[in-house]
């Protein structure tokens, strides 16, 4: 079993990089050393009325400095509380959680939508072959300058102010992006479109899923997704997003 750690992480710095989107670097004792691209951490609130940890994907890992970066959207009271935390404050976290992206030496296409974009950054840095990144934003861009340094970036925005007008799949099709492997993270409708596209073009595809979680380590069975085959652990057609996932082979999971 891979090691997971519960720690008091120290905030190195936090900034708002787009409206409601925050970037936070955390100094950890053990998590950064053990972490891989595509894994996530559970972030606990200080306010006792909010019990459950917030699962937030890892955006970047700095193994030399024992630090991990998370980029998250304020979606409710918990993330709102976390967004007000400042340098040198402590945050309870657990991680690294989940399986992460498989790193393969193939021409890669990374597809991210909205707050699904951040976990692709560490992945792009870790991939050794030609890397193309398609990122779909509502309107405001974030992390785009950082992605440009690690691959060819193609952008889509809803109003077309930046890049292709439309969603991220419009950018993929408009630029006729081909690849031997696709990695994707984003909202379910986007993942469905990616799955369909990959099947049509016969490209190996890996999807990072999201689901409401409680324990984050595979015990409570809150965050399951439907699987094509019977799962060895659950003995039914359910896989745990926090444990067997969050990254799955596209054909392995049924998206609803």
């Amino acid at each position: 079993m891979e090691q997971k750690f519960r720690e008091k992480a120290v905030i190195i710095r936090q900034e708002e990089i787009a409206t409601g989107i925050f970037s936070m670097w955390l100094k950890t004792e053990k998590i950064a050393k053990a972490a891989r691209a595509g894994q996530f951490i559970a972030v606990y609130c200080n306010d006792g009325s909010r019990l459950l940890p917030r699962p937030i994907s890892i955006c970047e890992i700095d193994k030399d400095d024992d630090a991990v970066r998370i980029v998250y959207r304020v979606a409710g009271k918990g993330t709102d509380e976390i967004s007000f935390m400042r340098t040198s404050m402590q945050l309870d976290v657990m991680g690294p959680l989940g399986n992460g992206f498989p790193i393969k030496e193939k021409k890669a296409l990374l597809i991210g939508g909205g707050i699904g974009i951040p976990p692709l950054l560490q992945l792009a840095k870790d991939l050794k072959c030609e890397t193309q990144i398609a990122a779909g934003y509502k309107e405001q861009l974030f992390l785009n300058e950082e992605f440009k340094k690690v691959g060819n970036l193609y952008i889509a925005t809803e109003d077309g102010e930046h890049g292709t007008e439309g969603n991220v799949m419009d950018a993929v099709k408009r630029n006729d992006l081909d690849a031997e492997i696709i990695y994707a993270c984003g909202p379910t409708p986007m993942l469905k479109a990616v799955k369909e596209y990959a099947k049509e073009k016969n490209i190996e595809a890996w999807l990072s899923l999201e689901e409401k979680m409680a324990c984050g380590i595979g015990a409570c069975l809150s965050c399951v997704c439907k699987s094509k085959h019977k799962d060895a652990h659950t003995n039914v057609n359910n896989k745990r997003v926090c444990k067997e996932g969050p990254v799955f082979r596209a054909e392995e999971v049924e998206l609803s």
């Binding site: 006792g48 019990l51 409680a214 324990c215 003995n235 039914v236 057609n237 359910n238």
Partner: protein, 300 residues
């Protein structure tokens, strides 16, 4: 200092257990908690055949608590016996298997399959609010509760714990009914039926519409019910409902619980069970309590 407690003839090294459904079969949490240090591990409910459970979202956070409607997803008794029991027997903690079913026969078949297994106690889940058949249907009517207790007792080699639902008018009446049916111990409370509405999506926060409310928010209700049950019957009681620290656990013990279980608390902190145990020991030392049994039900 003695922290050993007796649940229907089974001696637990200490009164701290896990609450069914929050701890799997212990494997995931064993990375954080040395399971041998717990009084007992209580497994997630297991049924005669595998169950898929409910659609997602299965949980929602609420103020000081959470609502869940997992729907008793489990791998079925055969894989459980093959995989989960051998895992648990590596540890010194007692093993309590939680049993669920749709019909009386379902419960009896699982109990029978477990009769030769190295498990210490069986807990009957007759109080899950999240499945359509079985579950709570047996736990909200005193006659049905007495009847199913009698029935499973016929097949059981291990002592039987009946897990009671708080979704009843009179918990004392239910405690008496289970005792009349031959229950060896009681555990309470299961979750309170609740609902949360997502006003942005204009829909229910969990797919099952309703779910079971747990966590610190329900603790005062749970302490009151443990107190009422303890005063109604003479069999041991395992108290649970919102325990996250030793102070919470001690309230239950003083209300009449011989043991306590940590449930949602595990999600807040994977070390919660050990923190509760450590805190109980510190309290005993500070207050010169030689034996935990001195304070069980000390508030009358």
């Amino acid at each position: 200092m003695n922290t050993k407690v007796n649940i229907a003839g089974v001696i637990l090294n200490n009164p701290v257990m896990t609450a069914s459904g929050t701890f799997g079969s212990g494997e995931e949490y064993s990375q954080f908690v040395n399971l041998s240090q717990l009084g007992a591990v209580v497994t997630k409910g297991v049924s005669i055949v595998p169950w898929e459970g409910n659609p997602t979202p299965r949980i929602a956070e609420t103020y000081g608590g959470m609502i869940n409607a997992i729907g008793l997803q489990n791998p079925g008794i055969d894989l459980f016996i093959e995989r989960d029991i051998p895992f648990l027997t590596q540890f010194d903690s007692k093993i309590v298997v939680n049993v669920c079913g749709k019909t009386m026969e379902d419960y009896c078949e699982v109990v029978e399959k477990l009769s030769d297994m190295p498990v210490d106690l069986l807990e009957m889940n007759v109080s899950c609010p999240n499945v359509k058949e079985g579950g709570i249907a047996f736990g909200q009517n005193p006659n049905a509760l007495e009847k199913i207790t009698k029935e499973v007792k016929k097949f059981a080699r291990q002592p039987i714990i009946m897990k009671l639902s708080p979704n009843v008018t009179d918990i004392a009446e239910m405690a008496k009914a289970a005792t009349a049916g031959g229950a060896d111990a009681l555990s309470l409370i299961n979750t309170l039926t609740g609902m949360k509405i997502d006003i942005n999506r204009k829909s229910f926060a969990v797919a099952n519409k309703t779910g079971g409310l747990s966590g610190p928010a329900i603790k005062p209700v749970a302490v009151r019910m443990v107190y009422e049950a303890a005063n109604a019957v003479d069999i041991p009681i395992i108290g649970m409902g919102g325990i996250v620290n030793a102070e919470d656990a001690l309230e239950f013990i003083m209300a009449g619980a011989s043991a306590v279980a940590v449930g949602t608390g595990n999600f807040i902190n994977p070390y919660a069970t050990l923190n509760v145990l450590k805190g109980i020991e510190e309290y005993m030392e500070k207050n010169h309590i030689e034996d935990i049994n001195e304070i069980i039900g000390c508030v009358r």
